[in-house]
Symmetry: C2
Subunit: 140 residues, 2 copies
């Protein structure tokens, strides 16, 4: 049986599923009716769409990528809902057409608890970019 | 006295404050401890930082801009919390160094009610972009 993890554990579980390219573990992060807006503004509704949107990239350009998540802060909404900011670092590997490179993003995730399970209800991601040049920003 | 507006009204109030470049009305959209991540990944915490981050652009590059917000959907978390997706269209005017142009984004906003007032607790924005070319996408 799954234990009742806290809301912030989602960040590490997300990275772990990503790095194992384990789409079943990835799917388990989300409530069935969750929403996901990726860093290109693509909007998915429902865990089926969210997983379907990620399967192709894990089979191709991000098949050897590594994700590192750092929880920036947690805002409690209620006993069963919280807002997470997650600094996220994606290291793409040789499988990517552009070659190995790094992308830093900021994830906003709303996590809610249903029947004892914390899962993602809504998530949006944005790439860190210099507004004057349009160039990606790396955090360190 | 302010009336108890619903959570989705935030989208129209946001656009109205933006289009009047009214920073007092803009500030009133947010709880004091709100967070805001703009479409470049810049992260502000607290209404003071959020307003301070917007004052300069309303005085310069976006002084003649127009924002149009369309609520895509509302997910109820509880009686006092909801998640909004907002399709947002920013029409920059002649004041922008790049000249008049348009940017389409997707806002994820968490709105909560405190003492009868719905305000933004957390917001993140992302520009709609073609992931293959990096070019902005316009919705219609």
């Amino acid at each position: 049986m799954a234990e009742d993890k806290g809301p912030a554990d989602i960040a590490a579980r997300f990275a772990d599923a990503w790095n194992r390219h384990d789409m079943a573990a990835f799917a388990a992060l989300f409530h069935p009716d969750a929403s996901f807006v990726n860093r290109f503004g693509t909007y998915w509704r429902g865990v089926g769409q969210i997983v379907a949107g990620h399967v192709p990239i894990h089979e191709t350009i991000y098949s050897d990528s590594t994700l590192t998540n750092e929880v920036a802060d947690v805002d409690v909404i209620s006993a069963d809902a919280a807002i997470l900011h997650i600094w996220s670092r994606l290291d793409a590997g040789a499988a990517h057409p552009a070659g190995p490179h790094r992308v830093d993003t900021m994830i906003l995730a709303v996590v809610t608890r249903r029947e004892g399970e914390w899962r993602i209800q809504a998530l949006e991601n944005v790439t860190l970019v210099n507004p004057r040049t349009g160039e990606p920003i790396l955090r360190d």
